[in-house]
Symmetry: D2
């Protein structure tokens, strides 16, 4: 069993011990991811780009990732597969020749 | 080498081929995670809790996870470790006896 | 009739001509505000603090404010009143003597 | 002087008494709007569409609106004007004949 599968199993166990599956519909899981991502952003509010405490960063990243794993599991999605596929898609949207050193969105690239 | 390490290496390769490391400060990576999380939420806007297309879900989850891996790598954070630690922390914040069947935040639990 | 009341009336007219009231429950209006706020943030992604086009800023601010007015109207909330009340509350949370020149959150102020 | 101008003046006074202008660059103001919008969304997390306390709704809306007014003021933007302009733009993007009773985005309308 893979490491990601193990940790997902631990998340599901935590959820089920608390009988929380009833709350974890897809829309609210998406909201939870977004709310946790916003708490990550808040660590940097009014601050410099690298002005962050590592422990807080770990806490917020863990929350985001946990809800991502729960949403992926709910839809039987393999997170490694989808990241691989996304890299392939993005290689077409952002060809090196156009995107190199350029932070523009693909629809603004020339 | 683990599967997560492999996919992170692929993300870094993609980034470096495009010379994008210069844009990827921690604050903007956090913003990117939050923006992608909001695009995930948008899939559900004005819609029911399970009214979502799986392909779109995979796309948005992949974006969120990719930026999470890049931010974690930047700070030398092992994402499996931090999720494990978070489950342990949350077990204390949300004891089964109080949290069972209850969606309240830990600071509202009685 | 006040200027805010006038513009709210125009927003309601726009909504009702399209028969969109059925979609505008409070939760989804909150999501809409958050999604538009994230589009505002995206204008600044990978960019400097003031590196933004005014027309895009106006567009995103208008979207956020429109959904705020619709949500406030739905709950019979006067937006000027609540801002006034918030300033009074914040004056207690952030006394000048402690908060001056300090960007910390009230619960971190000493 | 208009009511919106009055409340903006009160917000600026609050800010300047605390010497906070130094933190209020455009990017961080946008982040603040988004963070407050996410706190608004959190009121609805794991809950029904109308399951919200009015006092909390007022609090979060006030925070979002306050930062919107500060960002608008910084760029000399009249919030009533931009909402009016947006309604006109949206009337073209969402013609009644196509959008009536339909929650799709303009680029998905047929």
């Amino acid at each position: 069993m893979s490491a990601i599968r193990d940790i997902t199993t631990a998340l599901l166990k935590f959820r089920d011990e608390r009988d929380w599956k009833q709350f974890h519909n897809s829309k609210d899981l998406a909201l939870a991811i977004s709310i946790e991502a916003s708490e990550l952003v808040e660590l940097f509010l009014w601050k410099g780009n690298e002005d962050v405490e590592k422990e807080q960063l770990k806490d917020e990243l863990a929350d985001i990732l946990s809800y991502c794993l729960l949403l992926a599991e709910k839809h039987d999605i393999d997170i490694l597969d989808i990241i691989k596929e996304k890299i392939e898609k993005n290689a077409l949207k952002y060809p090196v020749s156009k995107a190199k050193g350029n932070s523009k969105k693909y629809n603004e690239l020339q």
